[in-house]
Symmetry: C2
Subunit: 280 residues, 2 copies
């Protein structure tokens, strides 16, 4: 058992809480999310919520799936919003549980606006987003001194399921030395082509992190030029995060899960860059 911090809000009947479930490891659930799971009457969860997280719902809660599975289309967004509103009007405590954080590529804003429009009271419980927590489990920091002061998050799936339109890739590769691309695996060749076409060097360090933070997590480090072949050879499956940029190199010194499993960490993971830069 863990002590509950004082002042956690009571989950009242007729309310909807939009809750981030984090990337998958239940250790990355927030205290507020765990508290919500312990009180909810109805948990409406999407495809990226792990079984280990769902197992923390209180015994009497109804678990209702609202994602896509096996390539089949799931409920449409307006249907999900209607379901949330209907259940709240029946005086249920409705927990809308989304992978990662509800306001990061999660369409949580749409659902919350629908609730506001229907006069349903709601709260938002932020979560650890996979682009941060998932990469940390792979030993990849988003920022590091001497490497970068900015990082850009993008989604590999736009509203229609394709690589999003309207992204200025030439600006993206110059804006941040570190890019984190969500849902990157399905369109990986196209994403790599756009980054390469925008001028990013083929030698840029890249990592693919599949099933981040779960026991099935797989990490492949490659370069922009080799990552498509590396991901295919490894048979990686979605969901996966793509990390692109110099901080990926730090994994050689920061792969703490690997170290726990017995692999040695390098003490100077950026040394190779220094050596290359001086031509030695």
């Amino acid at each position: 058992m863990l002590p509950a911090p004082p002042g956690l809000p009571e989950f009242l009947p007729g309310w909807v809480w939009l809750v981030g479930a984090g990337p998958g490891d239940p250790a990355l659930l927030t205290v507020g999310a765990l508290h919500a799971l312990q009180q909810a009457d109805l948990v409406i969860y999407d495809a990226l919520v792990s079984a280990a997280v769902l197992a923390l719902a209180r015994g009497g809660a109804i678990l209702e799936y609202a994602g896509k599975r096996g390539g089949k289309p799931g409920p449409k967004q307006p249907d999900i919003s209607r379901r949330l509103i209907q259940a709240a009007r029946r005086e249920m405590r409705v927990l809308r549980l989304k992978g990662g954080d509800p306001f990061v590529f999660g369409r949580g804003a749409e659902e919350a606006l629908a609730l506001a429009g229907a006069n349903i009271p709601f709260r938002v419980v932020p979560g650890v987003t996979a682009g941060i927590g998932g990469l940390a489990y792979a030993g990849i920091p988003l920022t590091a001194r001497d490497t970068n002061s900015s990082v850009t998050f993008l989604t590999g799936h736009g509203v229609g399921g394709a690589v999003p339109d309207g992204i200025d890739w030439a600006a993206v590769v110059r804006a941040s030395p570190m890019l984190v691309i969500y849902m990157a695996l399905k369109h990986l060749p196209e994403i790599v082509a756009r980054l390469t076409g925008a001028g990013l060097a083929g030698a840029t360090p890249v990592a693919v992190v599949a099933s981040a933070t779960l026991p099935a997590m797989e990490v492949r480090v490659a370069t922009l030029a080799t990552v498509v072949a590396a991901a295919a050879a490894a048979g990686l499956e979605p969901p996966a995060i793509l990390a692109v940029g110099e901080p990926v190199r730090l994994r050689a010194g920061l792969d703490w899960l690997g170290a726990i499993a017995g692999r040695a960490l390098e003490t100077d993971p950026l040394g190779a860059r220094g050596a290359r830069d001086t031509g030695s």
Copy 2:
């Protein structure tokens, strides 16, 4: 009390855990971080860790401050790393507690590399970063359908304390319709000047969120042209996050904390944009 998920790792003597404390509200602490606080012998925390979070450390834990306060310089980074190593060698359970997430503008990578170099075993426990969780408490989503497929995080303080060098601001404003700038208040006029100089319109919606998620949280919505005056008039104090871009407008419909306090939410917060765009 809250149930602990099965399989949480035991905090062993001689280990250092680098833990994100989240933005301040203890409800945003992860279960893994709470579990760590309950086991640690020594908690070395920085300036952005809230008192409410520190209060969750086990009774016998030593709390040691390692940040800056009142403009005075705090311990230097190598001193902090040395302290972590020294305490771990004395077989303490050492919890290095950092505001937000340790790998997002937190210098956690440096500390972890120092630990690896000294052969000290370590874990990383990611946290909710203020740029996501803090903005969610202000009712500002990072992404929303119809507004953006990318978001860029920047820090307003570089290694030397000034606005970071080497940022291509013209690329930044074209790469993402949403920018989140950490530690933005001290250099706010300069940041605004750079964004304006890079071509961002003066009418761009902007929010300053100070003391995000804490009871003292203050939010001011303005435009790029008016935010310096608005922040000064409100007497906002650090730490503060700056959000720049169209999703800021959604706060009018998503300010759930405001709604709980009795303020009405707009049901069509982007409607104003549509009206303006058509000149009506």
